[in-house]
């Protein structure tokens, strides 16, 4: 009986580790790693060949494998974690920035099948389909590895490691870096535009999850003494996904619960069933049940048994948590009047600079072609520092594409972009954002499963806790600064009269409120040049005007703004100059008064 219990402990710990690692990737960072089992397998093989004696001399030389270094414990486990992490690096090309999430997922799934096939066919590498057997248990020369005490200790160590990993991952998840990861999960293009290095973030989390998976493989192989391709079919990853979806994606406790319910619980409970039907019936029904559970949970309870918890940031700065409005946010309570008295300058840490109206952002022959259709054609514009430049044009004129090109969201087909005298055509968009070139989006782009406050705080640049290493150093390292950042976000939120929504998920706000969150977020990113894509759409006209006034003040203090807007009265009031685009070309440029006198413009846009 006790041996069975120790087995359950070890398998439980291994499954929990795997689920924690995958949850960090999928639930927190939004990387759909359908090849997760590769990393567990890599760890298991590594631990095996590191602890085995050389292949030619051991056990009559009946197996072939590489290495065979005969290393003492814990080196094989450390090696397992390291290789599990290292082997993640080649996969960065799949989860890098440009590939659709589902395509990357398919790529990883296929990689798992391919690597399993290669490990099966190429025998000299890891002994082919037979796998590596008689793997020494850790410290088996000192202890009796089949004794109960040893096995209990093995289970104990495995569980301690799981607990350690749990706290480590939680430390990262709850840091500003974790916030950036979750932002990337909710909307990677937007996170990119706010200066988050997607490739960097994904690489570190792929490596981190790979290390956890590798460790779990090392622990497992030391216990069962064998590792073979049959133990890591691609379908094992689907089981882990089912565990996380059922347990609660994004919540590490949920991941552990999922590990206990699905890979462990499912397998063990069916062992106690009396045998019935043909031998393949029970395993077949198990797979059907896993498929059904995945679909039913995604439909009825997509957040899982233990949903990801909402982070109440306002409590950190000592305010009472915001009133939790239910359902549609109630716009009648919005206190937009406060915006008049609001002082952006102090919140945004800006010191006024004298406007010299030099050209700060310009393009030279900028062109963008999609599938043979030219959307932006040979556009050369010059945006002056300290001005609020408007951009208008009929639908399909290429305005949003222009914004995307300027911010680097889309690469230019040809032409050049200059920012502050430098050619930035090939500079990545997150770097442009870090250098002060920040954009907003025409379509809703809030991070849905981040609270309003989190949406705002995560945009603030230069956070000491917003890096992998920074997050590891813990709250003592970044806590003070983060508190300060939350306070600034609270203030601006109050200025916009939305403090009662501070701790609600941004996805639950009304359309107009989400536009405001987006403007606030862009401002907190401390832009030098701010590219606003229809910021006032859906915002109450009175409030739009007040915001316009503030933008004017910011421009007077040295900010440069380019704004796409349909509402011509806004253009009349605030923008000078205004650029008119039509069919991807610059049609005219000047004050609204001049444009109204231009017959081409009137024909193309103002009338039609």
């Amino acid at each position: 009986m006790w041996f069975y219990i120790t087995t359950i402990l070890v398998y439980g710990a291994v499954d929990a580790l795997a689920c924690l690692g995958l949850n960090m990737q999928f639930g927190v960072a939004g990387i759909s790693n359908f090849g997760f089992i590769i990393f567990q397998a890599a760890g298991a093989y590594t631990a095996a060949v590191l602890s085995m004696p050389p292949a030619a001399t051991s056990n009559g030389g009946f197996q072939q494998y590489i290495l065979g270094w005969n290393l003492p414990w814990p080196l094989p486990w450390i090696g397992a974690a390291l290789v599990g992490g290292l082997i993640a690096l080649p996969f960065v090309f799949l989860v890098g920035k440009r590939l659709r999430g589902d395509f990357a997922a398919v790529g990883l799934l296929v990689s798992a099948v391919l690597l399993n096939l290669l490990a099966t066919n190429y025998i000299p590498f890891l002994n082919g389909a037979a796998g590596i057997s008689i793997v020494p248990a850790p410290l088996q020369s000192i202890f009796d590895s089949q004794g109960l005490g040893y096995q209990l200790a093995y289970g104990g160590v495995a569980i301690l490691l799981t607990i350690f990993v749990y706290f480590l991952l939680r430390r990262i998840t709850e840091s500003p870096y974790g916030r950036s990861l979750r932002a990337m999960r909710d909307n990677d293009v937007v996170a990119d535009s706010l200066g988050k290095n997607l490739r960097g973030q994904r690489t570190s989390i792929l490596v981190l999850g790979g290390m956890v998976a590798g460790l779990s493989g090392g622990i497992l192989v030391g216990f069962i003494s064998l590792w073979a391709p049959g133990a890591w079919g691609y379908a094992e990853t689907i089981v882990l996904f089912a565990a996380i979806i059922i347990g609660g994606a994004g919540n590490h406790k949920g991941a552990i619960l999922g590990a206990i319910l699905v890979p462990l619980g499912f397998e063990e409970i069916t062992r106690f069933l009396p045998p019935f039907g043909s031998p393949s019936l029970v395993p077949a029904l198990e797979w059907v049940a896993i498929g059904l559970l995945i679909i039913l949970f995604l439909w009825f309870r997509p957040t899982g048994v233990i949903p990801e918890k909402r982070r109440i940031l306002s409590a950190i700065v000592g305010r009472a948590p915001a009133v939790a409005a239910t359902g549609e946010a109630d716009a009648s309570k919005d206190n937009i009047g406060a915006i008049d008295d609001f002082n952006f300058r102090s919140v945004l840490n800006t010191t006024p600079v004298a406007n010299d109206h030099r050209v700060i952002l310009s393009t030279q022959g900028l062109t963008k072609t999609f599938s043979g259709v030219t959307v932006v054609s040979d556009v050369s514009i010059a945006v002056q520092q300290g001005r609020l430049t408007g951009m208008i044009g009929p639908n399909g004129a290429g305005k949003s594409t222009m914004m995307a090109l300027l911010a680097g969201t889309l690469p230019a087909t040809s032409g050049q972009i200059f920012y502050d005298g430098r050619d930035i055509t090939r500079v990545a968009s997150y770097k442009r954002a870090q250098e002060g070139l920040v954009r907003t989006f025409q379509l809703a782009s809030e991070f849905k499963k981040l609270t309003v406050l989190e949406n705002l705080v995560c945009a603030i640049p230069r956070q000491s806790g917003d890096s992998f290493l920074g997050s590891l150093r813990g709250r003592r390292f970044w806590g003070e600064q983060d508190k300060n950042n939350i306070e600034r976000a609270e203030e601006i939120l109050e200025g916009f009269g939305l403090s009662q929504y501070a701790d609600l998920y941004a996805g639950g706000l009304s359309g107009g409120q989400r536009r405001l969150v987006e403007i606030m977020r862009a401002l907190l990113a401390e832009p030098k040049v701010l590219l606003l894509d229809e910021p006032m759409a859906g915002v109450h006209p009175n409030l739009a005007r007040k915001i316009g006034n503030h933008l004017t003040k910011l421009v007077a203090d040295g900010m440069t703004i380019v704004m796409v807007e349909h509402e011509l009265s806004i253009m009349d009031e605030f923008c000078d100059p205004v650029i008119v685009l039509a069919d991807g070309k610059v049609l005219a440029q000047g004050t609204m008064g001049e444009l109204r006198a231009n017959s081409d413009v009137v024909e193309a846009y103002l009338v039609g």
């Binding site: 999430g101 997922a105 797979w287 498929g291 059904l292 599938s371 959307v375």
Partner: protein
């Protein structure tokens, strides 16, 4: 030369399957990873009718109908409702994997783990250009040719086909221009589902014997063929199927048989890494 012939046969089966698969992706933007399980279920429906006395060519229509009905049902009652729920995009891929498990192993639970084969004659053999082909294989070629020409005719010359292309290019624009997109999507799933059912049957015919999990590895070939030609591009799918079919069989002959499918894997990963929009395609507007 003979492996060229087998490559063509593999390609013919793959082309029928990939065209259906890519059409589903084109109109609904879903990678339907349950496609293989619908193929094999259809193959079994054909088998069931076949063992009850119908000739294989008659029974094939039952398999085609099964593919069409199941696919339509899947899109109407599972994929579409999930799309309307507005969950993260990867949800649908996970759902399709779940459906695949249910389809494959549900079938296995019903029919058991043993192999079956159609009752049919392989027909005469023909030596054509140094390739040895059986009568059945020639018929598979003919079916493939008829299917591909019909799809070409459908997309190019019929109102339905034009509406399908419009819907896949831009669903909102198509709807605003008066296309009944919901109806078009349903029609696409019925047609592509029929192709899936047909592909399952000819797949089973060509491999001689099959069981519930036989089509499980097929999804890799499908994906490789689709991505090679560009996801959502029916003509690209035909090209991709031809290339992958030939490449796997020729590499089996000249490199090593047990590594034959590695070429498909590598093509797929290479396309995903460097040209995810296909060999000839280019990126789409946001």
């Amino acid at each position: 030369m003979s492996s060229f012939g087998f490559g063509l046969i593999t390609a013919a089966v793959l082309a029928i399957a990939t065209v259906g698969f890519t059409m589903q992706f084109a109109v609904t933007n879903v990678l339907n990873l349950a496609y293989g399980s619908i193929m094999i279920n259809s193959a079994y429906v054909t088998y069931w009718v076949n063992t009850h006395g119908a000739s294989i060519w008659l029974a094939m229509f039952a398999g085609v109908a099964c593919g069409a009905v199941v696919s339509w049902f899947l899109n109407r009652f599972i994929y579409t409702p999930f799309q309307h729920k507005n969950l993260i995009p990867i949800t649908l891929v996970i759902v399709s994997l779940g459906v695949n498990l249910i389809g494959t192993f549900g079938l296995q639970a019903i029919v058991g783990g043993s192999f079956v084969a159609y009752k049919m004659s392989q027909g005469h053999e023909f030596h054509i250009l140094g390739m040895l082909l059986s009568g059945v294989q020639l018929i598979i070629f003919a079916i493939c040719a008829v299917v591909l020409i019909s799809i070409h005719w459908l997309l190019k010359y019929t109102r339905l086909g034009k509406a399908m292309r419009a819907t896949s290019a831009n669903r909102n624009l198509a709807r605003n221009s008066g296309v009944k997109t919901q109806f078009i999507i349903s029609m696409t799933w019925i047609i592509s589902g029929a192709l899936c059912g047909l592909a399952g049957t000819v797949f089973a015919m060509n491999s001689g014997v099959f069981e519930a999990t036989s089509a499980e590895p097929y999804i890799v070939l499908l994906l490789a063929a689709m991505f090679l030609g560009g996801p959502g591009e029916p003509y690209g799918a035909m090209f991709g199927a031809l290339t992958i079919g030939l490449a796997t069989e020729i590499s089996a002959a000249y490199i090593a048989a047990d590594y034959k499918e590695v070429i498909a894997f590598l093509v797929l990963l290479g396309m995903l890494a460097f040209r995810p929009f296909g060999l000839f395609g280019s990126e789409k507007a946001l």
